[in-house]
Symmetry: C2
Amino acid sequence: MSNKAADAILSGNRLALARLLSQIENADPACRKIQDVLFQHSGKAYLIGISGAPGTGKSTLVNQLIQSFRKPSDNRQPYRVAVVAVDASSPFSGGAVLGDRIRMRSSAGDPGVFIRSMSARGALGGLARTTHEMVDVLDAAGYEIILIETVGVGQSEVDIAALAHTTIIVESPGKGDDVQAIKAGIFEIADIFVINKADRPGVNSTETALRSMLDLSYALKADTAGYAGRGHQIADNEKLDGVTAEESKEGWTPPVLKTIATENQGTEAVIQAVYEHQQHLNESGDKAKREITRLKHELDASIMSTLYQNWQSRMDKDAYHRALDEVVLRNKSPHQAALELLA
Amino acid sequence: MSNKAADAILSGNRLALARLLSQIENADPACRKIQDVLFQHSGKAYLIGISGAPGTGKSTLVNQLIQSFRKPSDNRQPYRVAVVAVDASSPFSGGAVLGDRIRMRSSAGDPGVFIRSMSARGALGGLARTTHEMVDVLDAAGYEIILIETVGVGQSEVDIAALAHTTIIVESPGKGDDVQAIKAGIFEIADIFVINKADRPGVNSTETALRSMLDLSYALKADTAGYAGRGHQIADNEKLDGVTAEESKEGWTPPVLKTIATENQGTEAVIQAVYEHQQHLNESGDKAKREITRLKHELDASIMSTLYQNWQSRMDKDAYHRALDEVVLRNKSPHQAALELLA
């Protein structure tokens, strides 16, 4: 199977790549064929999820990580790095107005770096699905490290970051109530914790709070065996085939690292922790399990949207509107109306 | 249609109500019939969504709002008030360990108040759907004011709060980078902004930043006519029948209010703003439009999950696993595999 646009992307054409990513964002069915071709070339990239509350300096840290992967302090070859920054700051497309992306300008002109921002509200095919379709394309295009940055600490953001190989959760000190700041469903999905802005007051109490919450979380986890912590959102109805939080954490204790990203302090330790976690995943066989979990999510999301689209294309619009009227009039519950429509 | 559990709930049995809410949270199909009966009694409550980042003091504010609705300063009758607090702080069920709920103890023993916390990861039927099914039940049970509190500023949290009649977004000063703190897809869905902890340093710069971002947001919005701001997440594939952000905002400028919830300062002004917004919705006809939008989401979510469940119940498990294998081996894209499975 060949395809002109896919060939262009595989040979490094950035414009063709950018165009495809826009099509994916717009859920344009015309790009399916290109994606199908490219998918066969994917599966080589290492995916790093980075999530954290606004104001933790995540974007600055991401910028430093890009630089470190591009100019390794040891003798490694520079990696090609892509970033998918998922930003809910609609109506501003991609958050550019708000300055985050401006900080990434230091990578401008570097052909080994590709940065793509996506407004959450712009992702017409659903946030998680769009993100991971983009990741597959960037993977096929030869980017060896893909950073998935999600702005915010909501459920969907954390779930997206959790589908990476290594998930980094960024905190910062002095965000008012320490316990509040670290409470967002992050314990079972974090592989590495980073406390950024570590020169600010309160860094020690943040670290203490984080470590004791971690201990508590692990103690509780022992009581909830079999709970699938990673990426439950998409495949709610079925036990995941892939790895559960407990399994994946076996033999791995998430380190708590401190950084001052604005001064590039501590970034190298974060990179090292990523390498160590990567090695752990390879040795334990968890890397393959995480791959399967991620791809199962993509498959299930495709099945769900195909089912819905098939139904939409053949549904009786009048019957749908009558059903909605019945719900609005409270004559039927949404569930009753759905069952009748699908009968 | 009658039902014993539904009758108990309609006659004020709190235990029966709590049991049903647990069943909804667990996506227990056995409770469908009770919900169907109760749904016919819903449609009377006024829904207030409250969203904001962790640490803004949202829960304290919610607590004060409960008290104000229970003991109105004017001559209004006390309202019956229910709270659905959606909290992503897994693995701790309902966030109780973290102290939020403890602050709500001042309502303990008041039969006119019902508080329900829900862990995001506990919502097996999907977060938005579970929340709104709970709201429908509380509505039927006679709670006249329902506060939908979402912890976090992620897309899903904001979307849930946005499906209320009045959406309140809570900020607080001094959360590091002001511009960062207020950037979370909140502009087009907020009906009322509250800057809580208004006795803290930085309140003026937060207010200035918020107001100028609002101005910018409205200027940009003029360029994006037809964009459906509210609740796009569930029905991605179709233009909503209901109200768009632009339409709903017509004639309503979101006020920016300051509160110190811990000292009950400013709460009354928030309540007054809610009443004013309610009046605006009634007079403009937008209340009905918001109802339709919300119920259309519930209907579409029911259709999607029913389609998926129907498929799951009759699917060939071996074929599914072969399809997943093909995806993992990168022989087929998830989309190709889904199409073949559903062919």
